[in-house]
């Protein structure tokens, strides 16, 4: 890492948090609808993982706004998608949970828990066959590791020594069910241990996440096969904005928030990279302004035209012929 990258990461974290709060605010106003899963509290993890996995394909879940922006998708195109507008990254057809940008090797945006892991395995197979070294990263939560798709994928990725990074974001909650009530142990990396190299990392420490992902990708690039990283994080909000988070005590939430990834990274920025208060403020203001502009852009963007309802169902359109 260098100062420039550290500043960029801080910008993306602050941007991410402001973006999520703006999304929530606009959800309350009725501008954003459907399911909205906020990544507040996990910004350090999301930004660091994406920035560390500089090249290569990324498959993620429905809690992906910050990851998409860290991959270079314009905040305004993400916000417009949340608003369901024609200028959204998926033309208003995907919404919050389905952000895709193949030109940035970012494939969403999958809302079937575990459903995207086999896709990432297949993509890793393709990259291996094509002789590409960068590999694929698949991001999922702790709840996903209890499902069949996850276990099938560990097995196949390890059998073929695929260039695949399994990145588990363990925030200890599958919607409202604590990991203790859904799995026999807290550390989900134990499930991957027989198959591949595993790492555990403090997901609230962006620099540690960055280093671990870099090291894992290097391992993949050297042809050693898949790697599993488990990052322990903390989700500040409910599962989605319709979840009041009532199942977690104030004490638990306070403990959680004491590890705030943005405060922590800001301190590093000041102490390690010697950023001045002015420099930091400039970054924060820039992030705030970008979010405000994104909301304005989304608000002023047009609705999709009615005829797009039938577009892009198929590559080759063929209407059923009714006489």
């Amino acid at each position: 890492m260098n100062k420039l990258l550290a500043e960029e990461m801080y910008y993306l974290m602050v941007l991410g948090r402001a973006f999520e709060y703006a999304a929530k605010e606009n959800y309350m106003k009725g501008n954003v609808s459907g399911f909205l899963h906020l990544d507040i509290g996990q910004e350090g993890f999301s930004v660091a993982a994406i920035k560390a996995f500089e090249k290569g394909d990324i498959f993620s879940t429905y809690r992906e706004h910050i990851m998409a922006m860290a991959r270079g998708i314009e905040p305004k195109a993400v916000m417009a998608e949340l608003f369901g507008k024609a200028t959204g990254v998926s033309g208003g057809k995907g919404g919050s949970m389905h952000l895709f940008e193949p030109s940035r090797f970012f494939y969403g945006g999958d809302a079937i828990v575990g459903g995207h892991i086999p896709n990432a395995v297949g993509c890793a197979y393709a990259r291996d066959l094509q002789g590409s070294e960068d590999g694929v990263m698949v991001i999922f939560g702790d709840g996903t590791t209890n499902g069949g798709a996850f276990f099938e994928s560990l097995n196949i990725a390890a059998t073929h020594k695929l260039p695949l990074l399994f990145l588990c974001e363990n925030n200890e909650y599958a919607i409202g069910t604590n990991i203790k009530r859904a799995a026999p142990f807290r550390e989900q990396a134990k499930k991957a241990e027989p198959y591949m190299l595993t790492y555990e990392v403090d997901g609230m420490d962006a620099e540690a996440v960055y280093k671990t992902v870099r090291e894992a990708q290097k391992n993949i690039q050297e042809g050693h096969g898949p790697v599993f990283i488990e990052a322990f994080t903390c989700r500040y909000e409910g599962h989605s904005v319709s979840d009041s988070n009532a199942y977690r005590s104030t004490q638990e939430m306070n403990h959680c928030k004491a590890k705030d990834p943005i405060k922590r990274f800001k301190k590093e920025l000041q102490e390690k990279w010697l950023c001045s208060e002015d420099e930091i403020q400039t970054i924060e203001q820039k992030a705030q302004k970008t979010v405000e502009e994104a909301v304005e852009y989304a608000q002023n963007s047009p609705e999709p035209q009615p005829n797009v309802l039938f577009e892009n169902v198929f590559y080759e359109e063929r209407k059923n012929v009714v006489s």
Binding site: F59, S90, G91, K93, H98, P118, E316, V322, S323
Partner: protein, 325 residues
């Protein structure tokens, strides 16, 4: 050439010219394919492109989706229709929807193929038909051909198509003999007139079409009429133009299918005829389908659970007499 050889030839030809084409599934490689469709391919193209997978259907299709995203053109084989149920999340939530959800940013050039239907005493978990469910999913093309020539052309088209295709085969068709015209240009989405006629339009597809053809001579003899038999070939989209032309000529419609009657595939054809062809019809349509029971093991019970050439002939003749054919 046998039906399975026609399929093999289609895969082989495309794999030989396009190195992005891969095929994956249980025993497709070293074993040669459960029904020998992929026989000889691993020797030609190697284990990297003819991929033996674990018994994990969700992953077979899920990996194929990821391969397609990654720039390959995968052909996923599932051993039987019943096993495809384990992959339904991938087929319906991913393969069919990713293009639309991404507003066309993702393209999924891939094929999922499997055999289905009643073979011989394989019982309830190896004998069912699922075209009715898969044809109801927007984003999927569903091809299901009866004819050997079409098997070659339709599968080749499916592999080269940039859309996801479900290619449904039947265990009892694999050894069917037929001629393949390799020079022909054939539109697999156009229904095939298996037999021309003027008095009754009989619509069917896949293996049932052969049973219809076996029943036709007796129907024609007993009713003193001529039957037009239409092989749908493509179950989604449906070639309504060919159907309506035939019904306008015959004024009578019979639908024959192997899947269960309630909610079966033919409900779509009959519903369409009721909405669009009502005034062209001289009689209420007849629909012959499988009984609403799981497929039993005992041979006599098994045959009683689906239409057979004998039962088709008997029921069409009975219906014809009642309706002045």
């Amino acid at each position: 050439m046998l039906y399975r050889e026609a399929l093999n030839r289609a895969i082989d030809e495309v794999m030989s010219v396009d190195e992005t084409v891969v095929t994956l599934g249980e025993d497709v490689g070293l074993y040669g394919g459960s029904f020998r469709v992929t026989e000889g391919l691993v020797e030609k193209y190697g284990e990297k492109r003819v991929i033996d997978t674990p018994i994990a259907e969700l992953s077979i299709v899920g990996n194929a989706v990821g391969m397609a995203i990654g720039g390959l053109r995968p052909i996923a084989e599932l051993m039987t229709g019943n096993f495809s149920l384990l992959a339904f999340d991938q087929i319906i939530n991913h393969m069919a929807k990713l293009r639309y959800m991404s507003n066309g940013k993702l393209t999924l050039p891939m094929v999922v193929r499997f055999p289905q239907g009643v073979s011989k005493q394989l019982a309830a978990q190896h004998s069912e038909s699922y075209e009715q469910m898969l044809s109801a999913v927007p984003g999927l093309r569903v091809l299901s051909v009866n004819d050997v020539n079409y098997a070659y052309h339709a599968l080749k088209y499916a592999i080269l198509s940039d859309d996801p295709v479900v290619f449904i085969e039947h265990e009892l068709l694999y050894n069917k003999k037929g001629e393949v015209d390799f020079t022909q240009e054939l539109d697999p989405f156009k229904a095939r007139i298996a037999k021309e006629g003027s008095d009754i339009t009989i619509v069917s597809y896949l293996k049932m079409l052969d049973d219809v053809m076996l029943a036709v001579p007796e129907i024609e003899k007993e009713l003193g009429c001529s039957c037009e038999v239409i092989d749908l070939c493509s179950l989604n989209p449906i070639d309504y133009a060919t159907l309506s032309k035939s019904i306008e000529k015959t004024s009578r419609l019979v639908m024959v299918e192997e899947d269960h009657k309630t909610g079966g595939y033919g409900t779509q054809i009959i519903a369409w005829a009721a909405e669009e062809m009502f005034y062209a019809l001289d009689a209420a349509p007849l629909r012959l389908a499988g009984e609403d029971v799981p497929i039993p093991y005992n041979r006599k019970l098994e045959l009683a659970s689906i239409p057979t050439p004998e039962s088709i002939a008997q029921k069409v003749i009975e219906w014809g007499r009642k309706n002045d054919v």
